[in-house]
Symmetry: C2
Subunit: 366 residues, 2 copies
Amino acid sequence: MSAPSSKSALPPGGTIGILGGGQLGRMLALAAARLGLKCHIYAPEGDTPAAQVSDAITYAEYDDTSALELFARSIDVVTYEFENVPRDAAETLARHVPVRPSARALEVCQDRVVEKTFLNDAGIRTARFAAVATLQDLETAAARIGLPAILKTRRFGYDGKGQTQLHGDSGIADARRSVGEAPAILEALVPFDAELSIIIARGLDGTTACYDPARNVHENHILARSEVPAGISDALAADARAIAENIVNRLDYVGVMGVELFFIGANGGELYVNELAPRVHNSGHWTMDACGVDQFEQHIRAVAGWPLGSPERHHNAVMQNLLGSDIDAWQKLASEPGTAIHLYGKGETRLGRKMGHVNRLSPLGG
Amino acid sequence: MSAPSSKSALPPGGTIGILGGGQLGRMLALAAARLGLKCHIYAPEGDTPAAQVSDAITYAEYDDTSALELFARSIDVVTYEFENVPRDAAETLARHVPVRPSARALEVCQDRVVEKTFLNDAGIRTARFAAVATLQDLETAAARIGLPAILKTRRFGYDGKGQTQLHGDSGIADARRSVGEAPAILEALVPFDAELSIIIARGLDGTTACYDPARNVHENHILARSEVPAGISDALAADARAIAENIVNRLDYVGVMGVELFFIGANGGELYVNELAPRVHNSGHWTMDACGVDQFEQHIRAVAGWPLGSPERHHNAVMQNLLGSDIDAWQKLASEPGTAIHLYGKGETRLGRKMGHVNRLSPLGG
């Protein structure tokens, strides 16, 4: 099997490699199957949600160069379901096959300081921030940014892990300890009225397709619900789109990206970018039932070099994550009219674990 | 793993066995995955469309009793994607796990004489017919039914295979030879104005859910297109539903059934049943993009003992099969707005082979 030239589309029957075997990989694999494309999952853990629905699986660590080389030779293009793909792994793969989104996208999105610097350079508002390497840096940053503020590790944080809120000077040393000694970032608190996100795709040919913004509700730092429409003005929705387009165009990005936003209602409404996810995103799961082409198929289309589909929405939707024992209500959920169920095939139910989600649909304008 | 009791629902994580590895099995497996259910495919051929997206595969013949026994022990319930499941295989499996739809449904739908007798007994119109075992039977039948008529094998026909049209007495012996010496049926030609079909599901609890009828266009005896709405009156659509409900209730059926109908416009409209398919049906593929719960998920829900979903339609749809080299237009099709693509992952393109389908959507009432 030979790698496609960098700008040609992967025909049906081709194979997409996916790093990561979780629910996002699973839903990508299901979308790829609809298009007649095969998936080969690469993941360190066995019996993953994605492996259950994929044509081939490699169980190996991300630093296993020979496994990565073999994997690369069996696929036509590679993508990933999580942003913490080790740089070396991406480089090894890129010697054999296109890696989409690119190494540059990973570099920007893996590090909160690099990400916010990139955004500010692009003229996009973020929380004020400062890089923190030492306790002294932290004291200086706290004085400059003001408290309360949030101290986060620069890398590898998700779902509220690796972060702590700083309320007063007395807690500074404790806060530093609580996120470990890793390089960190201090971020000003944004007094937001709502958390939004927007899912955008950019194709190999540079075209973009943007879904409607969603309003997200987090509980215990984990996404609980996404609602579309988001209840913001058309002008603000257009702003959100423009921000997302600016980001993906500057990165020459290929694939789906989730852009998390803070919304402040005062002064006619302002948007701040909180975080970028260079992948399909939990807050885009509503697209599975409310749009003709969902974020998963859109990502597959983009990384396979296919034309993007229309992101048009044909229903209003509320996505609710099924966390932990929420899944026990599956029979009740299955009997709700207008509710679409998506379960991830995870064997073990753990507190707060994402076991599935439902999309509750209602007519447009309803 | 123990078989569920006959009336309990199979929880997420359970495994559905599917006999047959073609595109219908593939789309069933994709639907099962959405519900967190695993699939184990049993098929005599390797690298099938269904195997690419399923958790487990057994490659064995349908008369391999020990393979069937092993298969049955690894699954919770078994279903099939084709009606010609050998009776012995169904019986072997039924000793271990529920077989849904039941052996009775197979018995009725595998034999055109049994099927039409069942339908007429239920008060449902079919073409006039006569069983044909010998050349003399055929002569008698031709005299009684009149010519032209169609001679078909009683069993194993599909897509126009195993049938021939009889125009005059002189062709009788030739016709008999052309369908082989197998038991046959002579059917009167129904002077239909359109071919319709209706897809119905019946749950383990006896509830039914019926999709809107589709108008089907065949070319060279193979389904080319299905259009919904079918362009018939509400009264006639209600008749079609009543026929389908009558059939599945009489069979105590569990699963999705495709009911093929002939429509005659004269006398205010009349419906004849042409054929029953005790499985998901090509003419129901439009449900994949035009309904919240499609025929595949509906079948999985039914055989797993889940509540049925709503069969409500949110778009008008035209399904077009991609036969043979039609699939070469995939890039053009992928760039059509409002067109959903479904490709089956078949390696080899052959003349007339079903390689995929597209659903072209338009707004309700449009």
